[in-house]
């Protein structure tokens, strides 16, 4: 018996029980479809989140005062002088730029009297280039704004929508932040990221202005965060070392106990990748259960089919079919069931993933599920294995029937 012949014969017998075969295949379709859809949604989430993190800027280090992992008493705050010291090209050759910033929240009033609360960030002009911020209209903050304690602000598109009902033609308008007038000089382009707080709903003012007039700290030179850009992604680790060294000297901390924390974008990225990876496996695992149930459906139907065709099996044996011939016949049928289900399931899963993407985009969270070759291969192999595995028992049962008994079966 050659394979082509077996396949044709298996198709004929599946075709003879169309409804039953169809329902069995449906079980596998749902299983494979769910696996594909879940894996691609998971992977899509992963790439969206890591993309959002990368979108914050490249080669970045974040330095905060204090340290959660070590017992530090009275950590010294980060200051403008610290920031200044880090730009030293001799001691820190791998640091390309440093931007100190402070942040808080404030009450914002629009010219028409609308009131909202928003995150306020006071930052130096480098902050924008380091985080890849661009404007849709107007301009970013400049060095003159910083030096002149200017009462100007760059606002995110979400804030613009809230206060002005749109984000065009706003430059030149005046906002009140905690009652003080600020002129809008630019509107930021949407970054869309909803992963790291909403980057679209913040107001950025010059650091000097924020320190003097909005966000008061005990020491006027104190800052909340130092944003540091390494010269390249390869030198991020060296830059981190140099920054630590300089800060240890300046803060006079005992060796091994730092009163500051350096967080690199790579750390954030790897945490996010791990989390979304677990998420993907979890989703895939749940979908895998439905594939298992589909497999049991195949086994069930094959057992029914063996019982139903006992006489046929007896006849085939009388005509000279060996054990192996019968085994191959039934395994071909169960494998075909799962293979057909697998192929249709892949298409269904793909469509489902696209649908999820469309719904997510329509509801304002742009998100593209990725169907990749590895998840297709995984689902196909898994479904073929399911077909074989759950087909073995019924096929074996058919093959071991005694010809005399089988022929006599009514």
């Amino acid at each position: 018996m050659n394979i082509g012949q077996s396949i044709i014969e298996a198709l004929e017998s599946l075709n003879a029980n169309r409804l039953r075969s169809g329902l069995t295949i449906l079980g596998i379709i749902i299983g494979v479809g769910a696996v594909i859809a879940m894996l691609s949604v998971g992977q899509g989430a992963q790439s969206t989140i890591t993309g959002a993190i990368s979108g914050i800027g490249t080669n970045l280090l974040f330095v905060f005062s204090g340290n959660d992992t070590q017992d530090v008493r009275n950590p010294r705050p980060l200051t403008l002088a610290d920031a200044q010291a880090l730009i030293d090209p001799l001691q820190a050759p791998d640091v390309a730029a440093v931007s100190p910033s402070i942040q808080g929240s404030a009450e914002i009033t629009s010219p028409s009297g609308k009131v909202t609360n928003s995150a306020i960030i006071g930052a130096t002009p480098d902050y924008f280039s380091m985080q890849n911020y661009t404007v849709t209209e107007g301009a970013l903050l400049t060095e003159e704004n910083e030096l002149g304690n200017a009462s100007v602000a760059v606002i995110g598109p979400t804030i613009a929508d809230k206060l002005f009902g749109g984000h065009e033609g706003i430059v030149g308008e005046t906002l009140r932040i905690n009652g003080q007038p600020f002129r809008v000089v630019g509107v930021l382009e949407s970054k869309g990221g909803s992963s790291f707080g909403n980057q679209d709903s913040r107001i950025i003012v010059p650091l000097s202005t924020a320190q003097a007039r909005l966000l008061h700290r005990t020491n006027v030179n104190e800052v909340d965060q130092l944003l540091i850009q390494a010269t390249s992604s390869e030198t991020v680790n060296q830059a981190s070392e140099e920054v630590s060294e300089i800060l240890r000297q300046r803060h006079r901390t005992p060796i091994g106990i730092d009163d500051f924390t350096i967080f690199s974008q790579k750390d954030v990225l790897s945490i996010a990748t791990t989390v979304t990876g677990v998420f993907t496996i979890f989703l895939g695992g749940i979908a895998g259960i439905s594939l298992l149930v589909g497999g049991i459906g195949i086994m069930n139907i094959m057992l029914v089919s063996v019982t139903e065709r006992t006489r046929e099996i007896g006849l085939r044996k009388a005509l000279g079919a060996r054990r192996r011939d019968i085994l191959v016949q039934f395994l071909t049928e169960s494998s075909l069931l799962s293979l057909l289900g697998g192929i249709i399931g892949i298409v269904l899963g793909w469509l489902l993933a696209l649908l999820v993407g469309k719904i997510a985009t329509a509801s304002g969270n742009p998100f593209s599920p990725t169907v990749n070759l590895s998840s297709i291969l995984l689902a196909t192999l898994f479904s073929a294995a399911v077909g074989l595995f759950f087909g073995i028992y019924p096929a074996n049962r058919a093959a071991s029937l005694e010809p005399v008994e089988a022929l006599r079966y009514e």
């Binding site: 018996m1 050659n2 012949q5 014969e9 004929e12 017998s13 003879a16 006489r311 046929e312 006849l315 085939r316 044996k317 009388a318 005509l319 000279g320 079919a321 060996r322 054990r323 192996r324 011939d325 005694e402 010809p403 005399v404 022929l407």
Partner: protein, 225 residues
């Protein structure tokens, strides 16, 4: 007549039903020569079916010796038995036993496929169908054929591998007498033309009367005639 194609010596078949042992055959010895047409008769429960199963290599005797066309069948394993059935025995059943999903041609090809024949299968099957007078209906499914035609397909299937013997179990039992006569005529015709050995199990004395020799079975033993 030629040398014996079937030699059976003291065949016994004992079925175990729980604690009871039921002897279906208690020592049957017979010889059938090549080209002979033999009918086996006997009331139900006489061991006819058991004898046919053993002679047709569907089952093995509990004890005794059975030699079919020079092969010592009583010592073979399952797959070897399947092989013997395929090459040396053709079956014709009372209820035809055709595969309803496939054409007459595919039904006749089936033994060739299990024999591992890859080339000229179609030609051989067509030839066999021609020999039983069904040349015109090869692509029809069994459900589209009359009872007599179905039995002709079954006969074509039985002889397609040129077996040493054809075993027919009540071949006319499900047919009306006119068609039954035609089928018998066809089987006897095959015997005269091709010299195929025929073993026919039957209740019908008119069928038995057309054969060369009648073996009567009673209570698992051959009755002397």
């Amino acid at each position: 007549m030629g040398k014996p194609v079937i030699i059976a010596k003291d065949l016994k078949k004992i079925y175990k039903m729980g604690e009871f042992e039921v002897a279906a055959l208690c020592g049957v010895s017979l010889e059938i020569e090549k080209g002979e047409v033999v009918s086996i008769m006997g009331p139900s429960g006489s061991g006819k079916s058991t004898l046919m199963n053993i002679l047709g290599c569907l089952d093995l005797p509990t004890s005794g010796e059975y030699i079919l066309d020079g092969e010592r069948v009583s010592e073979l394993k399952d797959d070897q038995l399947a092989d013997i059935r395929n090459r040396k025995v053709g079956f014709v059943f009372q209820s035809f036993n055709l595969l309803s999903r496939t054409s007459a041609l595919a039904n006749v090809e089936l033994p060739l496929r299990y024999a591992g024949v890859t080339t000229g299968r179609r030609e051989k099957a067509l030839e066999a169908l021609d020999a039983v007078g069904l040349k015109e209906r090869v692509m029809h499914r069994p459900t589209e054929l009359s009872g007599g035609q179905q039995q002709r397909v079954a006969i074509a299937r039985a002889l397609v591998n040129n077996p040493a013997i054809i075993m027919a179990d009540e071949p006319t039992g499900n047919l009306d007498s006119k068609v039954g006569k035609e089928i018998m005529a066809l089987l006897l015709d095959l015997n005269t033309k091709k010299g195929t050995t025929l073993i026919i199990i039957t209740h019908d004395p008119t069928v038995a009367a057309q054969t060369h020799r009648v073996i009567h079975l009673r209570d698992g033993e051959v009755e002397a005639v």
